[in-house]
Subunit: 428 residues, 2 copies
């Protein structure tokens, strides 16, 4: 490190985020120096194709050798914007083990190997910054690591995926079908050609695992998260929810129970229209953090995009550089693996619609099934169809396995034609 | 500092926040030690009255000598929860100059002397933490100092005072008069017997000055903030706003203009019902941060209360203790005094209601006044009364002095009976 406290940055990858990052550093270096006494300079950028033009990035800094960039003694700090998991993990580990702080926005990497990387950073006494990995444009990771370090957090819940929130918003506001809303999201570049990672909830699950690890100090990986997507949600479901005062949102929910076990789930939920999460529209993200002291805090903003992501990567880089100069770091606390509570053992309120024969005694038989499985009904509405009736139930909180057993019992009743959509209900 | 990295805390004041803080430290010390390797222990608490019982605070730690607490070599870090400005300033300065980090929730102190205290902390290479001074239960100061350190912030705007938001929410939702809503807030303990600091906007102005200093790196004091309160808002104003799709909220707005000058204002504003700030009800606070990279971020939560405030004071204490151990600190950047732009020179959209004679040519004469002063009309509605008419205008953005000159011109028109409420309009 030079006398002038210049910190030399090596950037892995130069796509949208990497390019934005290099431009932001060039634009802001003087302001950052005035604010922190540290001069940030990009000295090396690894790319796959040297020939591709990259606006605002000096071509003489480009290299195709990522491993050499990481081990270069002329690089003090590594910014990982290349994506990917397996090869990227080795590069990040090599950087950390060489005593270089790493900043990354790579949620898939952290969902698969976060605890290993956090431990490597801690061992090397350097920072690993990942503010942009979850709800990219929202300062969320920082508050969980800093301002809320004294808080006993009980639950983190939110809209963690902008693509699905855009699709659900379109379905809610324009009455669009799922397929049309998805096509619209793809046309706008919000959704990939293969939208699986977004619409089946895997992206949100990766983020939920990172939040759980951070909030509760226990390793939760992406695979630990019970994950349901939105691809089966229909315009009729949206309409059913709307007429009862709800909207449907894809939520990530991580929580700690009294016995210390941790719940980690991603699922489409019915959210009351008056709940602040119901007002989060389009591709925005929002996250609720709940704890004993703070009660509830909500953080809201852009969940993706090159600019918001790069802005947060810059913030992490500044903080990691300051800590590098001070020869200190902020540990990601990890007290060991989490005991993850299976989804069957977690309590939720549930919505279910049933189609039943319109004859006497049906409701009593159904109510009996609820009662036998200790599931208490919060509200019921009946809609008369031609020869049948639709019954729409919302339950009080019930253990999921009991609710599923109730459904099995209900399905076996002769008067029940079909069991329709089942959705969990929050905040009612 | 002991081998075990025990940090000994001296607490100035033992009211609601001080008591909650001591209890939280006792409850959380083990968790904090596991997370950070630092043991926090309260070793001294200064009070006015030794005889008063304080739940959960060891009576043997109490002292009436605040100055001795601050200079005690057995105290490593000072937590200021006593309030007050002048005597408190000297104690905080003495602590900082003795190399002890200080954590405070005292917005009045920072609005009057923040830049001096930040400089003293910087000189002593220790932290001054004040997360709880603005929007107590929301992590806001931390993100501005950390995650957003790389962001070029253009505006911070929000609901910074829970008491007035409660009063306005009651007026909006229950049609209550101002006086009744205030009495209700007083009965619930949300408003003081003398509510001036809240209802006239001084509390929000203190917080706005702290946010401006932090967001723009220039000293803005409480007295620099143009301040208007809510005590003149009537049920009719709320109703006028409601029928046009707005709610009235007391906002703090700090912004940086292209010439580097800074606007700092607190005023009751018309906010569109679809704006996220419109959904912030009761005594909650919410703050928008806007910048080039992040676009918009909103942070929402409890603005006051012993528990949320104490939780944030604990977070600051942990962070300051970690930095003390690492012999580093986070500077509050200050590039010198702000050039504060006078309110007359700032652009806003305005709402105004006029009572006019119901006769031909009136509207033309009024429109002429708007035009002459370069104020463009966004919308106009007419309500017919018995012999007169009410005209309700919303303007496009206009320089405030031009709008005021327009009103002077309009008042002089013979057909104009009276100029009613004038309110700034945001986000339309």
């Amino acid at each position: 490190m030079s006398e002038a406290r210049e910190i030399r940055l090596g950037v892995l990858g130069c796509g949208t985020v990497g390019t934005s990052f290099c431009q932001l550093i060039a634009d802001q270096a003087e302001v950052i120096e005035a604010r922190t006494g540290i001069r940030l300079r990009v000295v090396s950028v690894s790319v796959r194709d040297l020939a591709k033009p990259r606006a605002g990035v000096d071509a003489s800094l480009l290299t195709t050798d990522s491993a050499a960039l990481v081990s270069d003694p002329g690089v003090d700090l590594v910014v990982e914007t290349m994506g990917g998991v397996e090869g990227t993990r080795e590069l990040v580990l090599a950087a950390l083990r060489a005593g270089k702080p790493v900043v990354t926005a790579n949620k898939a990497l952290l969902a698969a190997h976060g605890p290993e990387l956090y431990a490597a950073a801690d061992e090397a006494n350097v920072d690993i910054g990942f503010e942009a990995a979850v709800a990219a444009g929202i300062p969320l990771i920082g508050p969980l690591r800093e301002s809320l370090v004294g808080e006993d957090i009980s639950r983190v819940m939110g809209i963690l995926n902008g693509t699905t929130n855009y699709i659900l918003s379109q379905m809610t506001e324009k009455g669009a079908d799922y397929a049309d809303a998805l096509a619209d999201a793809q046309a706008l570049g919000y959704a990939e050609a293969d939208p699986t990672a977004d619409v089946e909830g895997h992206d949100a699950a990766a983020k939920a695992s990172i939040l759980a690890t951070l909030a509760f100090g226990r390793s939760v990986l992406g695979d630990d998260v019970h994950t349901e997507g939105i691809s089966k949600i229909t315009a009729e479901d949206i309409d059913d929810a709307d007429r009862r005062g709800f909207v449907i949102k894809l939520l990530g929910v991580v929580e700690r129970f009294d016995d210390g076990s941790i719940g980690a789930r991603v699922f489409p939920a019915m959210v009351p229209k008056l709940h602040p999460l119901a007002a989060v529209r389009d591709s925005f993200n929002a996250v609720f953090v709940e704890g004993v002291g703070i009660d509830q805090v909500m953080l809201y903003g852009r969940g993706a995009g090159g600019h918001p992501t790069a802005a947060m990567v810059v913030g992490d880089t500044v903080n990691a550089a300051m800590n590098l100069v001070a020869k200190t770091h902020r540990r990601v606390v990890n007290l060991g693996p989490a005991v993850v509570r299976p989804v069957e053992d977690i309590e939720s309120a549930f919505f279910v619609s049933l189609e039943v024969a319109d004859e006497p005694g049906v409701l009593a038989a159904i109510a009996n099934e609820f009662g036998e499985h200790m599931v208490s009904i919060s509200s019921m509405e009946q809609e008369d169809l031609e020869s049948t009736a639709r019954l729409l139930f919302i339950t009080h909180h019930a253990v999921e396995s009991n609710f599923r057993a109730t459904l099995t019992g209900i399905e076996a009743l002769p008067a029940v034609k079909s069991v329709g959509r089942v959705l969990r209900v929050i905040g009612s």
